[in-house]
């Protein structure tokens, strides 16, 4: 399973074939060249030192070749690292790009189901771990494996018997690797999960520190973090134990045992074959054999950690994206028609049942009903965030799924009950990705939603930087700002979801005026808490537990005994009648 993750990462490398080929060729050359040095040593010792006979010309020749080989091998390996690092930077940029683009295309349901902290963690910490994996671990591992193979070949060429002793140890090394992996991988997965939890906790609580301070809950939250970190430590400590048992110390143990085995086989060798040069060269290869194995072992722990992170990144990348819809463009005000629509977020808990509702172009329709009656869900369906389980939604006789999703969302604007303000200037927050409007138009729209005095109070006007937690904005202003956004988008359908809920009467009146002004030009769907604001609607739809109870004009509905009357009775008896 972890090989498949690594293979998948390597596949990204295939997108950059030129660099990949360059890096591999350099690697082959550098490793091969490096193998020559011990041979030269052997020739030197056997031909000159052991027989105590020195010939200056040949000596200088060997020395020059030796130095040339060393410099050449290291230069090649430097260029190899450079091109590999370039490759890894490109691959990781691609992966970062892919995860970001994928994230933007994930269905809204994904964000409702996963905490933001967790998603952020996958795209930041986990991708960073993958970067480390690709740049530092995979590259070195490939090089180490190359080196080990080259060393074994050279040893075999040098002396078959000694080489076989070394080769006999390789299965033991592999067994240790496999054992370590077997125990460690599940542990690493747990550690990653636990740190994702810690991250979610930190992401949430750091945004609300003031509240913790007011409720004097910091000590408990600190303790909670401490407990979570303790759990993480306990898991990591188990992993440290595994590493200490099976990695580096085990390698030292095996290295010494291997020497013992070599000595034994030396003893068994006919001594006339024993040349000092051979021993020199052999031990030189042995050092070159252990170095990559030390590296391989050293990186095992990191490798598994990074593989666990890579798996989480790939989980994100493999999550289904939402469809981009059909090819139809919505560029006028459509007739919206819900036909026998049923929907449930969780199977078995229907939110809407067999809903029939028509919104004519330019109509002002109000949705009312108690909490949980499915009003907001209608907006979610119209925005294309979710698809109906049965029945269908049509815009001008075409199924909603036949429209291009992006165009649909630009045409149908939802002014949310919890609006989000991006960390950007006021201008950017209004325009989003629009380019053409000039500042005059922005001022005009802001004046329309009565934010002009607010804008005037800002230190840098439209360029003032705001964000979701900015003290420069109240909840009411955020909603007004979203309203301005909707106006700028030139949407043909505007949905207000409880938008008037927390506005002061002045802003509320402003919105009423804007609604009156837009009425007839765009379709308006108002999900209302205060019935007073929607008395003048063309149609009021009363929902209860996902069922459409009544629809009609206010004047007609008040005459009938029914859900609307009950709602009026409970909603609009002024508070003073009850309070003692």
């Amino acid at each position: 399973m972890n090989t498949s993750v690594i293979l998948r990462l390597l596949k990204y490398g295939l997108n950059h074939k030129a660099i990949l080929v360059q890096a591999s060729l350099l690697l082959l050359l550098a490793t091969g060249l490096d193998m020559l040095a011990p041979w030269l040593t052997m020739i030197y010792i056997d031909q000159f030192v052991a027989v105590d006979h020195y010939q200056v010309n040949t000596l200088v020749g060997i020395a020059v070749i030796y130095i040339g080989v060393i410099i050449g091998a290291n230069l090649l390996s430097y260029f190899q690292s450079l091109s590999y690092f370039d490759l890894s930077a490109k691959v990781i940029a691609e992966l970062r790009q892919a995860s970001f683009q994928h994230c933007l295309k994930l269905p809204m349901a994904y964000f409702h189901q996963h905490s933001n902290g967790e998603t952020i963690n996958r795209m930041t910490q986990d991708v960073e771990a993958v970067r480390h994996l690709f740049k530092n671990i995979i590259g070195r591992t490939i090089r180490d494996i190359f080196t080990v193979i080259a060393v074994i070949i050279s040893m075999l060429l040098l002396n078959v018997q000694l080489a076989l002793v070394c080769i006999a140890f390789i299965p033991v090394f592999i067994a240790v690797f496999v054992a370590y992996r077997h125990f460690s991988l599940p542990l690493h997965r747990k550690i990653k999960q636990q740190s994702a939890k810690i991250n979610g906790f930190l992401n949430e609580s750091l945004q609300q520190v003031l509240l913790l301070q007011v409720f004097n809950a910091q000590p408990r939250f600190i303790k909670r973090l401490n407990d979570k970190a303790q759990t993480n430590i306990a898991l990591s400590q188990r992993n440290v134990t595994l590493e200490a048992l099976l990695l580096r110390p085990m390698l030292e143990l095996l290295a010494i045992l291997m020497m013992a085995a070599l000595i034994l086989s030396l003893g068994a060798m006919p001594s006339n074959l024993l040349a000092f040069g051979l021993l020199f060269a052999f031990f030189a290869y042995l050092a070159r054999f252990f170095e990559p194995i030390i590296n391989l072992m050293q990186s095992q722990g990191e490798l598994l950690q990074a593989v666990a992170a890579a798996e989480r990144v790939f989980q994100l990348l493999d999550h289904d994206i939402e469809s981009s819809g059909g090819s139809l463009q919505l560029n006028h005000c459509p007739t919206i028609c819900f036909h026998q629509v049923s929907f449930a977020y969780v199977q078995g808990e229907p939110v809407l049942s067999n809903l029939d509702l028509t919104i004519a172009p330019g109509e002002f329709v109000a949705l009312v009903g108690p909490t949980g009656s499915g009003k907001s869900t209608i907006a979610q369906l119209l925005k294309g965030y979710y698809q109906a389980n049965s029945g269908h939604i049509q815009l001008d006789q075409h199924l909603i799924s036949h429209y291009q999703t992006d165009g649909l969302r630009k045409a149908i604007t939802l002014v949310d009950q919890k609006p989000f303000i991006m960390q950007a200037s006021v201008r950017q927050n209004l325009l989003l990705d629009l380019v053409h409007p000039d500042d005059a138009q922005l001022h005009h729209v802001l004046a329309q939603v009565e934010l002009a005095p607010w804008l005037a109070s800002l230190p840098q006007g439209l360029d003032t930087s705001i964000d979701n937690n900015s003290p420069l904005l109240t909840l009411g202003q955020k909603q007004l700002l979203c309203f301005a956004r909707a106006l700028l988008q030139n949407s043909s359908v505007i949905i207000l979801d409880e938008a008037s809920a927390s506005l002061d009467p002045a802003s509320e009146q402003a919105i009423q005026r804007v609604i009156a002004q837009l009425r007839g030009k765009v379709s308006l769907l108002v999900i209302a808490h205060k019935l007073s604001n929607i008395k003048m609607a063309d149609k009021i739809a009363v929902l209860q537990q996902g069922v459409l109870m009544q629809q009609g004009k206010h004047a007609d509905l008040v005459k009938n005994k029914g859900a609307y009357q009950q709602l009026l009775a409970s909603n609009d008896s002024p508070p003073s009648n009850i309070v003692a």
């Binding site: 050092a287 919890k418 309070v579």
Partner: protein
């Protein structure tokens, strides 16, 4: 080496542990140095006798196996404890940093966004922990192991050869020092870019509803592409330096080998050393290759750890509490619970609250001035005004979370404050946990009581899991009205004397609102006070006193009936509200 200073306190704290780890490492290194000597003597023996007797080999073999096992045990021991302490440091730094954040007032979080803090709490803390974990190993391998090898070489084989080996080392030291300097600035640059990049991602994910809702992926994509290009460049620049470490050490090692072989063969020719000794010498040189690499790793690990520690320290040292640390004065009147006198408050004060001394008043940014507010026991008071008149800011002044020089705050010594913020600020967890946030020892009965006071119990009863229902991140599983009532229940459970509500009734229907106001009055029992910032004018006839804030007007602080007669704007708003709400009564 700066890192040693930064982290010295931790090592001092666990000094015995580190001393024993250090001794174990030295012992283990000594053990692993013996085999080449054994081999050298064996080879010389072989060379002399020309015939091999297997029995002669056994003592050497037994010694080797004994060495192998003791090395293994020693290494296991020190690794276990060394990485254990590194983990411990990671935890303690994380908790220390988090505790610091928990202590700091609002403006701190404007200087350090939560994305930035999250990055410190993750990657930086991890890099520091690497510094005391792998860092120590690299240190030992680089210095202890290599000096032991050199001592053995000098005493057992030849001091002259040892000196020759050392010749190329200054080159290594110098180049690594140079790389280290290059590395430092590039590392800082790439960490900085990474921070910006993370902020971009956090912004995007947190704002996904806007981005998807308006199908404006293009704009965020553009910004992202820009950030990504810069980050990738910073990564590449850093890698350019990293790539130099290994070839340099390998080259120096090969240089040493070349020199020893040349000088060594001269010594063999002069019969000062044997060939077996020369072989052993070369074996030891093999032992030096890894320490030399470790030398490079040591510097890059310590540099990274040091850069990260600096970033953490910057946050930890940012501990200006300013005026927030001043305790409020005690009101002169016994029945007064809280009193606030504001000379002047501007938009600018938001940014610098608690810190800057009183700056020159900037008329354009003025939010309100000359406010004199005081609440007695048993009163409901309201703060009203148009959007952006400063209601929330005034509540935060009452709360004491932002303080500036021009504000004088008095609080009854026995009074506690509870607060319901505009955005409710709920936490992942169950409903029960959220209600009990301010009173962890509360019994289930008390929790249920608070929920029913806040008119929430009926809602909870409809949930399958009741009080154990998960509310989701920031309470995302609840409706706006449910969140507000949950936040109110949480505040009521704390048994505070002063309850500050920041527009907390906005998403409630009138029936619930009436019931809630009634319950609040019962809860107050004549001894507590409720201060409500609201834009619902229909509720104002319940308030004992109302503070009316309007931009470019002096604040009015009167009763409802006085305001009705004295202020036209107020009258209009109230009539509008009561007309639209009460007018359609059947």
């Amino acid at each position: 080496m700066e890192f040693i200073n930064q982290i010295g306190w931790f090592i001092k704290l666990h000094q015995w542990r580190y001393i024993s780890i250090f001794m174990a490492i030295v012992a283990a290194s000594v053990c692993s140095l013996i085999p080449p000597l054994l081999i050298a003597s064996l080879v010389d023996q072989l060379a002399k006798s020309q015939s091999v007797n297997l029995v002669d080999l056994w003592p050497t073999l037994a010694q080797l196996v004994a060495l192998a096992i003791s090395t293994y045990l020693l290494r296991f021991f020190w690794r276990y404890y060394l990485f254990g302490s590194a983990l411990e440091l990671e935890r303690s730094l994380m908790v220390q940093l988090y505790s610091h954040c928990c202590r700091m007032p609002g403006p701190f979080f404007q200087r350090h966004s939560s994305a930035k803090l999250l990055n410190h709490l993750n990657s930086d803390v991890n890099a520091v922990s690497q510094g005391v974990g792998n860092g120590v190993i690299f240190f030992v391998d680089a210095f202890v192991m290599s000096s032991l090898v050199l001592v053995v070489l000098a005493t057992q084989i030849s001091w002259l050869l040892t000196l020759v080996v050392l010749l190329p080392l200054p080159i290594l030291a110098l180049s690594i020092k140079r790389y280290g300097q290059q590395m430092q600035s590039r590392l800082e640059q790439s960490q900085y870019q990474l921070g910006l990049f993370y902020q971009q991602i956090q912004q995007t994910v947190n704002g996904i509803s806007v981005i998807k809702g308006h199908a404006c992926q293009g704009a965020s994509q553009q910004q992202f592409d820009h950030q990504l290009a810069q980050l990738t460049q910073a990564n590449i620049d850093q890698a350019r330096v990293e790539a130099k470490y290994e070839p340099t050490t390998a080259m120096v090692a090969a240089g040493s080998f070349f020199l020893t072989l040349s000088v060594g063969s001269v010594l063999v020719a002069q019969q000062q050393i044997t060939l077996g000794e020369l072989l052993a010498f070369n074996l030891y040189l093999g032992y030096l290759i890894w320490p030399m690499n470790a030398f490079g790793f040591l510097f890059s690990t310590l540099t990274m750890a040091s850069v990260s520690m600096k970033r953490i320290d910057q946050v930890l040292n940012d501990d200006q509490l300013g005026y927030a640390s001043q305790s409020p004065t005690v009101p002169t009147q016994q029945t007064t619970l809280i009193k606030l006198d504001v000379e002047y408050f501007s938009h600018h004060n938001h940014q610098v609250a608690n810190e800057d001394s009183f700056a020159e008043p900037d008329q354009a940014a003025l939010l309100f001035k000359d406010v004199h507010f005081s609440a007695q026991r048993g009163q409901i008071q309201a703060i009203v005004g148009p959007v952006a008149c400063g209601k929330s800011s005034l509540l935060r002044l009452l709360l004491g979370s932002s303080m500036i020089e021009s504000v004088q705050r008095s609080l009854h010594p026995d009074a506690n404050i509870a607060y319901v913020p505009q955005d409710c600020a709920l936490f992942t967890g169950t409903i029960r946990e959220n209600i009990a946030l301010g009173a962890p020892d509360a019994s289930f009965e008390q929790i249920k009581n608070a929920a029913s006071l806040a008119c929430l119990s009926k809602d909870i009863d409809t949930f399958e899991l009741g009080y154990d229902t998960q509310v989701g991140e920031h309470g995302s599983q609840l409706s706006g009205g449910q969140k507000q009532r949950l936040a109110i229940a949480r505040a009521l459970l704390t048994q505070a004397d002063i309850l500050l509500l920041d527009d907390s009734l906005s998403a409630l229907d009138n029936a619930t609102c009436s019931q809630l106001l009634f319950n609040l009055k019962c809860w107050m029992a004549g001894t507590k006070t409720v201060i409500l910032a609201s834009s619902r004018f229909d509720l104002l006839n319940h308030a004992d006193k109302i503070l009316l804030l309007r931009p470019e007007h002096l604040p009015l602080y009167l009763t409802h009936s006085e305001l009705l007669t004295r202020d036209n704007w107020y009258q209009q708003q109230y009539q509008h509200a009561s007309a639209t709400e009460g007018g359609i009564k059947p």
